[in-house]
Symmetry: C2
Subunit: 322 residues, 2 copies
Amino acid sequence: MDERGIIDNIFKPLAGEGAPAFGLENDTAIYSPPEGCDLVITKDVMIEGVHFPEGEAAGVIAQRLLRSNLSDLAAAGAKPVGYLLGLMGKETIGEGWLKAFAAALKQDQEEFGIKLMGGDTTSGSKSLCLSLTAIGSVEAGRGLTRQGASKGDLICVSGTIGDAGLGLKCLTGEIERDDFLIGRFQKPEPRLALGQGLTGIASAVIDISDGLALDLENLCRASGVGAKVHLERAPLSGPAKKYAAGDQKKLIELLTAGDDFELLFAVPVEKADQIPKLAKTAGLPITVIGEITGAGECQFLDVKGRAVAFRKKGYRHFSERG
Amino acid sequence: MDERGIIDNIFKPLAGEGAPAFGLENDTAIYSPPEGCDLVITKDVMIEGVHFPEGEAAGVIAQRLLRSNLSDLAAAGAKPVGYLLGLMGKETIGEGWLKAFAAALKQDQEEFGIKLMGGDTTSGSKSLCLSLTAIGSVEAGRGLTRQGASKGDLICVSGTIGDAGLGLKCLTGEIERDDFLIGRFQKPEPRLALGQGLTGIASAVIDISDGLALDLENLCRASGVGAKVHLERAPLSGPAKKYAAGDQKKLIELLTAGDDFELLFAVPVEKADQIPKLAKTAGLPITVIGEITGAGECQFLDVKGRAVAFRKKGYRHFSERG
């Protein structure tokens, strides 16, 4: 299949006819934003050997790429609308790969109520590279950012932390295979309902892609504040608890593993009573793990209240994990 | 510099503080679309060795990438607003390269009145790959597409055709160096003023990236029509005329070379009187090269009215030109 054949046969069914994508006949999408809304736009890239191992299944790549971008929309409190896809393929990528890639996107489009809006497909790269731009909408003026956390705000985190990192360890054979953990790595859940619920409540939000410790630093730097977090309060799944088994070094490993795609957010104390309702609506545990302090560093405290030093706060790339 | 350093030092100055990019502290841009407007969104990728030769200057890559996307906005009649950038670098890309890349973007941001809205920067690809998403706005309902050309419409083209292809030949040493031609390849001019002027006048528009012949086919397929174009009417610059020198084979080469980033559009006969004014406002020659026919093929006719066969209608990739 040439480029036109790929567009017509593989990607056009993901876009549909008419606006915004016009069956991918045009190079542009024309999108009428809903009235009274701001648009939220994010773009992530993924590189073979960096963000996923060479030979990773097409469907896993597709869903991790799309869902990591949707997680960014979740952190802004946005409802996803659609996405544009940039595929920079290797010559070895064939029709079977493309079909599996598109089938996984189609599944997720249905799950999240979104459509392909456009993009570009080319081959000739020595590494498979992908780029996705996700577009969402949020009530005007209500979009959430990392800026806005104040001294005294409670630091909350959704779900459980460290599972995706352990999932990767399962895949590399470092630990015993566990389908729950592998699923958390391969098919992260963007916390969209929670993010939308946080508008008007959270003072600052970030999604955890680089690890809880580093993303807390990112949030604090953006807000110009510091933080105190109690290590033992970090929410862990059963398998993660079993892995850490009370070992502080292993716990820290979980907090710096990344790819959790949970939301980490600050809530002013006077709004703390809304947290249980939020958790119920989103169908997710929300755990208060510490509080925002005045300008300063992000401290992680052990059970005796002593600051714990981290060798490395987080990971960015698959390759660095090797 | 690590990823954070690159964002803070190289890219943050292109984004500025506040919305939409918030100094690139967030993973998302929050953008308030202008009232009564549709958004026009496009995304192109570029791969080293495919769209540009290995070792191409950073500034040339930056401006070709940005301007080819702006050209897509021009074809929709949109005014550019901003862009998101995905940079999938090789390990060999250093600070000097990044600074030159950003300086060229800054120049173009000023020229086109746009800002960096977000993106993602990672290294570890074996081929330098880039992705750019450009966002523009157009009065609601007035965005131009490739669909809409009807039998009898005049086929028009802006500027001159084939210069960029010859510019590439200069760079590969196939023909004598000519700064005008090289400039047309390295720094294309998105025809934004013309595109905006075409709203309400043109029935269908495409920007010429794959060559006049192939992009005419693209427009006709999208509109469900055919076309008759008179080869000798194709507008050529002085250097291109000199190259073709009346040789039909060389003329066809120019019409299939691509990267012109001129606009090719259809105008209903009853609006033909507006073409001279459009040309004047845009400061560009506009040439009527043929007319739209009922459903059928795109024919290129020689001076005697005979259909000319093309071996290949257009080019997509740098590598295919080799």
